[in-house]
């Protein structure tokens, strides 16, 4: 199981992600986007950062990199793909996942710890948790507000494709606990199939025990078959 952590110009959570995955026993490597996916790729992370300076829209430029055709093809064949923060924006911009992540309701960059509730524990990224479990995860983004047409969101909810919702410490989904104005407090969603997923919070920043809480480990354990 070799997980490719794809580096774009301006990625900056790439090395953290490799370190967090290796801590969990996942064989992870940095892959420069121009080099393409290695033949033995068995998983892909689109990491956080500010690829291409967020020009045009966050993730829009990286979504045009030829490696994304390879990532889409790999995803279609069942390879797990996880987009984190800027990687989530890239995932939506490249149609791996539905919707869009756009300007926070506050119009500010927000770097803080939030609570999220596990909405569907039947995915590779959440099977380490119980449905309804509350996790504490960090966010660090200016463009994390999840936007999607109401009817499409309803469809996603019917299909149980919402992974996490922002909530308070008790697990109640409220407007006050919504850090960025995301529709229905959505913090992460899956693609057409559950092995493809994106989320705005950073599980790799709460995986190493030295950093305190380790609530993010379960997400990255999705790469452990």
């Amino acid at each position: 199981m070799t997980v490719a952590v794809v580096q774009f110009g301006g990625s900056n959570c790439d090395r953290d992600t490799v370190q967090a995955l290796r801590h969990l026993g996942v064989d992870a490597h940095l892959v420069w986007h121009e080099d393409g996916l290695p033949a033995d790729t068995a998983g892909v992370v689109l990491p956080g950062g500010f690829s291409y300076g967020d020009y045009l829209r966050a993730g829009a430029m990286a979504a045009q990199s030829p490696i994304m055709d390879e990532v889409r093809a790999a995803a279609d064949e069942g390879t797990p793909v996880l987009g984190i923060c800027n990687g989530a924006q890239i995932g939506c911009e490249s149609s791996l996942t539905p919707g869009a992540f756009t300007t926070n309701e506050s119009a500010r960059f927000q770097c803080e710890r939030v609570h999220v509730r596990v909405e569907n524990a039947d995915t590779p990224w959440t099977r380490a948790y119980e449905e309804g479990e509350v996790l504490e995860l960090p966010i660090a983004h200016g463009d994390g507000r999840y936007e999607i047409a109401d009817d499409r969101l309803e469809l996603l909810e019917d299909e149980d494709r919402v992974l996490f919702r922002y909530c308070d410490a008790e697990g109640t989904v409220t407007d006050d606990a919504n850090p960025n104005g995301s529709k229905h407090n959505v913090a992460g969603v899956t693609g057409d199939q559950s092995h493809v997923a994106v989320l705005m919070p950073h599980p790799e920043r709460v995986t190493l025990p030295d950093l305190g809480i380790t609530d993010g480990q379960g997400v990255l354990r999705g790469f452990l078959a």
Binding site: L56, R57, A60, Q64, C92, E93, P98, G99, A100, T102, T103, N104, E105, S106, A107, R145, E147, I148, A149, G181
Partner: protein, 83 residues
């Protein structure tokens, strides 16, 4: 082939929150201006050669569909004139 300039205007769909526009509106009000609403939009001016205006517009629309706009949150329009 004729030289054209295609102007692609990309706007947020009606109903999609625009926090930057709201912040800008508040700043204008702080400066003492009276206004009832403010919307922001991105404008791209694309110089290109095409057989006719329709061809130039079609290419600019494809640019909008595939990159300049995000159909999830944006509407766009294209205007073409000879450069």
């Amino acid at each position: 082939m004729t030289a054209y300039t295609a102007t692609v205007t990309v706007r947020l769909k009606r109903g999609v929150l625009d926090p930057e526009a709201e912040t800008t509106q508040r700043a204008l009000e702080r400066l003492g201006f009276e206004l009832s609403d403010l919307r922001s939009a991105d404008v791209f001016e694309v110089d290109l050669d095409a057989d006719d205006a329709d061809g130039a517009a079609a290419r600019a629309e494809e640019m909008a569909e595939r990159l300049l706009a995000n159909p999830t949150i944006h509407d766009y329009d294209v205007a073409v004139e000879e450069a």
